[in-house]
């Protein structure tokens, strides 16, 4: 579904990514791990069009997407969350999700102004779906709370719901468990599994080894912008380069 091939990107003298390749198969949960500064977020930015690679290609469903505008890639079916939340802080939880659905709505300005029956039906459907998504992430009762007023964990879940609202085929989660306690992390892993069961392809970036080991079917390890390992979690965990290069004593026995 997603194919990243030989992608490089540097910022001045800092090489953020060097010749990185990655494949995500349709219907899988894949993870990208690596220490801080390994280039994980840069990789996500390139996939979502928030920057273009200096070399290499990125394909989604066979289409070249590297260097295309972000909104275009979003319309094609890739949605993401951010490591440091990027909700619309002054909008309510419901409005945040409705904004996420924006891309899938069809009505034009004139229809909106005269409120044609078709436009109303579409708006009702959008709201119904937004409530379903709120329900999915357990925020149904917070529908009319401003995003900024939600707890940190709830904001993270809301951001996932907002990403799903655009009905993506590929969901990118950038450190979804960051700052969560172990109980919240378990809840989140369960949520990701639930989303995956609906047929969604998921690619996530994570720090927490325990979290990805239990969740992902495929892992790619980055270190200083280079791919040092790639494979099923068990193989990656036993890869001497991974242990040596960065996991070290952190590796759970």
């Amino acid at each position: 579904m997603l194919q990243v091939e030989g992608v490089s990107r540097s910022f001045g003298k800092l090489v953020a990514l060097h010749d990185v390749s990655l494949r995500v198969d349709a219907g899988s949960i894949a993870g990208v791990i690596g220490p801080n500064g390994a280039g994980k977020s840069t990789l996500f930015n390139l996939i979502t069009g928030l920057g273009r690679p200096e070399s290499g290609t990125i394909r989604f469903s066979g289409k070249r997407i590297d260097g295309r505008p972000t909104y275009w890639i979003a319309c094609l079916g890739i949605a993401r969350t951010f490591q440091n939340l990027r909700l619309f802080p002054h909008a309510t939880a419901l409005e945040n999700i409705l904004t996420g659905e924006h891309v899938r709505l069809r009505s034009n300005l004139l229809e909106d102004l005269v409120r044609t029956p078709g436009q109303r039906r579409e708006e009702e459907q959008a709201r119904a779906r937004a409530f379903e998504l709120l329900h999915l992430v357990g925020l149904r009762r917070a529908a009319n709370v401003r995003a900024a007023a939600l707890s940190y964990g709830d904001q993270r879940r809301l951001e996932i719901a907002r990403a799903l609202a655009s009905r993506p085929r590929l969901l990118l989660l950038d450190e979804p468990a960051a700052g969560m306690n172990p109980v919240e992390k378990d809840g989140l892993a369960e949520l990701v599994r639930t989303i995956h069961r609906t047929g969604m392809t998921v690619l996530l970036i994570e720090h927490d080894m325990r979290f990805v080991m239990g969740l992902c079917e495929h892992l790619t390890v980055l270190d200083y912008g280079e791919r040092i390992a790639d494979g099923v979690p068990q193989a990656v965990r036993e890869n001497p380069r991974v242990i040596e290069a960065y996991l070290g004593s952190e590796l759970p026995a």
Binding site: L50, T70, F82, P89, L98, H102, V103, S107
Partner: protein, 303 residues
């Protein structure tokens, strides 16, 4: 007391014009945090476009009956559309490339665009004031001893009607939703599939169209226009936007009416030479004591 109400009516009508201009300042600021100093000149351009259209329609004086609505309607829509297109062009040619260049470069560019527009208009229509046909019947309605003209009623109705339409547009249409999202977080908005270039262009279109509408209204109100009109009116409308809370639509409206009323009373009580002093003193006091503006805190949402 009589004079008091007469001045109040004057101030409200004047304020309606400021409010229409202030909406454009506040919308553009809300979405790209730029004080578009060329906005006042788009307003002047609106009065010149109106003149041209009125000329083409053969209107040179008062119009009565249903023709009034047709002529005024065609002129307003024409002038608003043309100004909207000018607004899009300004954004496309002057501001878009500077979107990531910090705040000073676009600000100075805005001042430059203002000069260009003023000089183009001076070449086009000459350096002296130009007469504007008095399209509205001059009949004055007596409301409790205070004279109100049809024109004054029209100004206030147009301003408030536009404001309501705009509120609906921003809060209940997909484009409005895109605008609000872009104002809050441009990057996140683009990840929601929102084309921010288009959204920003649309914001400029709507804001500039409102300035065009204000240009027609002020031309009809003062029966004259001038290439340099937008400089002073623009600054006062900007003051109105700041007073109401820049980035806030209702605030721009409230600020516009307040500035109009204050200016009108200052002219009456202190004399015309003091009206600008009073208005800009208010700007300074607002910036010092309540930088977020009157409605800035109650509804912090931009656009």
């Amino acid at each position: 007391m009589h004079e008091f109400f007469a001045q109040l009516v004057n101030g409200i009508a004047l304020g309606g014009i400021y409010a229409l201009i202030a909406l454009g300042y506040t919308m553009v600021y809300g979405i790209i945090e730029l004080i578009n100093f060329a906005h006042g000149d788009v307003y002047t351009l609106g009065s010149f476009f109106s003149l041209t259209i009125l000329g083409a329609l053969g209107v040179s004086g008062e119009v009565r009956g249903p023709l009034l609505i047709v002529d005024v309607g065609v002129t307003i829509i024409g002038a608003a559309m043309l100004c909207g297109i000018v607004g899009i062009l300004i954004e496309r040619l002057a501001y878009r490339r500077l979107r990531f260049a910090g705040r000073l470069a676009p600000l100075i560019t805005a001042i430059g665009v203002s000069f260009i527009l003023e000089n183009v208009m001076q070449v086009w229509r000459g350096p002296s004031p130009v007469a504007f046909p008095a399209v509205f019947p001059t009949h004055i309605y007596n409301v409790g001893g205070v004279g109100i003209s049809l024109l004054q009623l029209a100004v206030v109705t147009l301003a408030i009607g536009t404001m309501l339409l705009l509120e609906f547009f921003v809060h209940h249409t997909r484009f409005g939703q895109a605008m609000r999202a872009t104002a809050q977080d441009r990057e996140a908005a683009t990840l929601m599939g929102i084309d921010i270039n288009r959204t920003i262009a649309l914001t400029f279109f709507v804001g500039s169209a409102l300035a065009g509408l204000a240009g027609f209204v002020s031309g009809a109100y003062y029966q004259s226009t001038w290439f340099f009109n937008g400089f002073g009116a623009g600054l006062k409308a900007f003051t109105a936007a700041v007073l109401g809370g820049i980035g806030n639509l209702a605030g721009a409206m409230l600020g516009g009416f307040l500035i109009g009323i204050i200016e009108s009373f200052a002219t009456w009580k202190l004399g015309g030479q003091w009206s600008n002093v009073t208005v800009f003193t208010i700007l300074v006091l607002t910036l010092v004591f309540r930088p977020a503006g009157l409605l800035g805190e109650v509804t912090p949402e931009k656009v």
